[in-house]
């Protein structure tokens, strides 16, 4: 939305008054005051879609909480970045996430679980999103059991950066997952191995082959052999 640059709005965030240009997000306004708001899906380089909702804040005690990363500051509003409702939503979202996804290699989300007092065992007997590790190209491996569905990889592969359109989302709801056309290997997809998806992934779901190899105790020589050039999936890749 285009905003008149001369136009400003005034509001209070956690009892601190602030005046910002119209069109400023609550997140940006909070940062000018040094107020920290948790984030998972938000990333400077990708279109914000308001997916994770851990950034929600309370605006005027409204019926709905507002996602700070995309909601604009409104004049004369009272914003609370932390209260009982806000904390319940953040905590519950994180608890549900950690019961569904392998977050062991997501240090930032681990830190959030602690600051939001989330109980990692809150949801016993819960279905997890388990996916087999996909090792189908010489550059990176994909472990969607670690995927939080922030959409960043899909977005940078599409209109946010690369216009390659190798990735898409399959199914919907809880079972949504990142995939390729008919699950074809990356080597058969339009992927150009630019690596941007790996750069934006907030978890261990997308990992360079070298890092993956070292983690799994391979020698540099063994890793080099398995990463020499793009090719169709071959039996020896499986053993590597």
């Amino acid at each position: 939305m285009s905003a008149n640059p001369n136009h400003t709005v005034s509001l209070t965030i956690d009892d601190q008054p602030v005046t910002v240009p119209a069109g400023t997000t609550l997140l940006e306004a909070a940062h000018t005051l040094g107020v920290d708001i948790p984030l998972i899906c938000y990333h400077d380089a990708t279109t914000a879609n308001g997916l994770c909702r851990v950034c929600v804040v309370d605006v005027n005690k409204g019926r709905l909480l507002q996602p700070a990363c995309i909601a604009h500051c409104q004049h004369n509003t009272v914003v609370e970045t932390s209260n009982e409702r806000v904390e319940r939503s953040r905590r519950t979202i994180l608890e549900m996430l950690s019961s569904a996804v392998d977050l062991r290699q997501a240090p930032e989300i681990q830190a959030l679980l602690d600051t939001c007092n989330a109980d990692r065992e809150r949801f016993p007997a819960a279905a997890r999103r388990e996916h087999a590790l996909i090792d189908d190209n010489p550059f990176y491996v994909r472990d969607y059991s670690q995927c939080v569905l922030c959409w960043r990889c899909v977005q940078v592969c599409a209109e946010d950066a690369q216009y390659t359109f190798a990735l898409t989302l399959g199914q919907r709801g809880f079972h949504t997952h990142v995939t390729t056309l008919f699950e074809i290997p990356m080597t058969e997809s339009p992927c150009v191995f630019c690596g941007q998806c790996i750069g934006v992934c907030p978890t261990g779901a997308l990992k360079p082959k070298i890092e993956f190899g070292l983690e799994n105790g391979l020698s540099p020589e063994e890793i080099r052999r398995s990463t020499r050039r793009p090719r169709k999936r071959q039996p020896q890749d499986e053993e590597a």
Partner: protein, 565 residues
């Protein structure tokens, strides 16, 4: 048999918004959309192949793997649940020797579970897809053989009430153009009324949108009319997928021209020359009636260029959804028309300024639009003789479950739920246990609460809602835990997965409800935290109401959840 190439011909040169119609053509002809088909579509419409695959995955009536020559979708939502849906599934599995979701070895049959098919008054209901022929509704399922071979069935929905909007008798077929008339309200508006006058009349009538969000129609039209960007679009929301709701289906099957005239008037008011009528894929009969009516109205000059020799031109394109409740949410509906996965958009900006194809758009429900020709013809004061000041005009309600005469009733808001159940629906079948008011996204009421007057304002005051106008009635033989699980399964199945609270919460809510008979310590608090988080933090109305029925049941019947009163 048609070839893929033949199917693609009419789509050459078209853009991405033709994706769902083309996927429908291929799905119907071949029973699924395979890798080669996706590549060909990708070349024809210039849409990335991976994205087409993502779209196929999103819509439950599209398949990327082979289905049967006959595929049967059996409804498992509450009203069909209490009418024996599980027995239908079991009988089909026994007959075919395969469980639901598994193709018979000869490739002939596939049985799948389905959410509410909008045939709840004839429960239990099924939808049949026959390769090459299309889809057919079948309800009540009195004979499972009829699901597997072709059988004729006629259905008559009980309708009665004020008879203002619903003027057809149940046994009458769809109204033809000569029977309906010559679009006199449209003729009069184009001759005598400015768009502003039409909007002012609708505003004065106090018409509140009938789709569930209860937004004043006049206000929406004013905002759309005033939006500077061009062109403007009118969208009729005929997605009607809220469990327990079937009033729009009845209007479309019996009085298609009333809707088309309402759309033309709405388009005139907001300054649109193109309209889309988006109807859920599970309504094949209504879609056929509507397409025939559109063609007849166009041939008569009531739609098309320079209607009645005025400067007003208006075309209507019928679009079929493909199995996704979320596409009733207005912005997800835009995405579906644009050929994408039906993800709701972040609001603001609102559709009145940034709607279909990013242009100013008014989205209106079928019943809302059907009231327009009447308001224009008779005036706002006439419309206000029914209902209350804040709930003006007659209102359609869909009733299913344990009443003697389930059907669609046209009521004057203000009578109580008790009067309605006794006077209109022929009374209850068995002692009343609970009423689910407003659909799956609504709230439960106890037998002590049914003296509430049926108006937007009275229902809101007790924390309930008219919602989509659905009323589901349950007697004391009903296992309410089973009803709750069916509701939870519905939301788990229909969550689009975009935002975390609903994507995760609908799954976790279902898991806790599945073990209601043997709850784990802390389950009631888990349910409350999941429910309040979905309600307050979700991105769209689906997640924001996905716990509504459950939370209302926890307040009324704590014992069902292992709590004490």
């Amino acid at each position: 048999m048609t070839s893929l190439e033949d199917l693609l011909v009419p789509y050459r040169g078209r853009a991405r918004d033709a994706l769902l119609p083309l996927l429908w053509d291929i799905q119907t002809a071949f029973g699924h959309i395979d890798h080669d088909a996706v590549q060909s579509i990708s070349h024809t419409l210039r849409v990335p192949a991976a994205e087409i695959y993502g779209v196929i995955h999103f819509y439950a009536l599209f398949h990327h793997q082979p289905t049967g020559h006959t595929t049967v979708y059996v409804c498992d939502s509450p009203s069909c649940g209490i009418a024996g849906a599980d027995r239908v599934i079991a009988a089909l599995s026994a007959r075919l020797g395969v469980p639901p979701g598994t193709l018979t070895p000869d490739g002939q049959f596939l049985v799948l579970h389905s959410p509410c098919l909008g045939l709840c008054e004839h429960a239990p209901a099924a939808l049949i897809a026959r390769r090459g022929a299309g889809e057919f509704a079948y309800a009540p399922v009195d004979d499972i053989d009829c699901l597997l071979v072709e059988c004729a069935q006629t259905r008559q929905t009980i309708t009665s009430g004020e008879g203002v909007m619903l003027t057809r008798q149940p046994q009458q077929p769809a109204q033809t153009l000569p029977e309906y008339g010559d679009y006199a309200a449209l003729r009069r508006a184009l001759a005598e009324m400015s768009p502003h006058r039409v909007i002012a009349e609708v505003d004065a009538a106090g018409l509140i949108g009938r789709g569930g969000a209860a937004f004043p129609t006049g206000t929406k039209w004013k905002l759309t009319h005033a939006a500077p960007a061009q062109p403007h679009y009118l969208v009729c929301n005929a997605d009607e997928s809220e469990p327990g709701t079937f009033k729009d289906r009845l209007l479309m099957e019996s009085q298609p021209h009333l809707l088309l005239e309402g759309m033309a008037l709405a388009a005139y008011a907001i300054g649109a020359s193109k309209g889309f009528l988006f109807i859920r894929g599970e309504y094949p009969e209504a879609a056929r009636h509507l397409q025939a009516a559109i063609d007849a109205a166009a041939a008569a000059g009531f739609l098309g260029a320079r209607i009645f020799d005025t400067d007003f031109s208006f075309d209507i394109e019928l679009r079929r959804g493909a199995g996704a409740y979320i596409c009733g949410e207005e912005t997800a509906l835009f995405e579906a028309i644009e050929g994408k996965r039906g993800f709701p958009r972040v609001k603001p900006p609102y559709p009145t300024t940034h709607g279909l194809f990013g242009k100013p758009t008014s989205v209106n429900n079928v019943e809302t639009l059907c009231a327009i020709p009447l308001i224009v013809a008779h005036g706002s004061a006439w419309f206000r003789q029914w209902g209350t000041a804040s709930s003006a005009g007659t209102k359609l309600v869909s009733v299913s479950g344990h009443v003697r005469r389930p059907g669609v009733y046209e009521i004057a808001p203000g009578l109580t739920l008790r009067q309605f159940l006794h006077d209109y629906c022929g009374g209850l079948v068995g002692p009343l246990r609970a009423v689910l008011m407003g659909g799956a996204a609504g709230t439960f009421l106890t037998p002590e609460e049914i003296d509430v007057p049926l108006t937007f304002e009275h229902l809101r005051a007790i924390g309930s809602t008219f919602g989509s106008g659905a009323i589901m009635v349950f007697n004391d033989t009903t296992d309410l835990r089973d009803v709750l699980r069916r509701l939870a399964r519905f939301f788990q199945h229909e969550s689009c997965g975009k935002c975390f609270p609903c994507q995760l919460g609908t799954q976790r809510q279902l898991e806790v409800l599945e073990r209601l008979e043997q709850p784990l310590p802390g389950d009631p608090q888990r349910l409350r935290d999941i429910g309040l988080t979905m309600t307050e933090a979700s991105l769209c109305g689906l997640g924001q109401t996905a716990a509504s029925a459950v939370l209302s049941a926890m307040q009324r019947w704590p014992e069902l959840f292992g709590e004490t009163k």
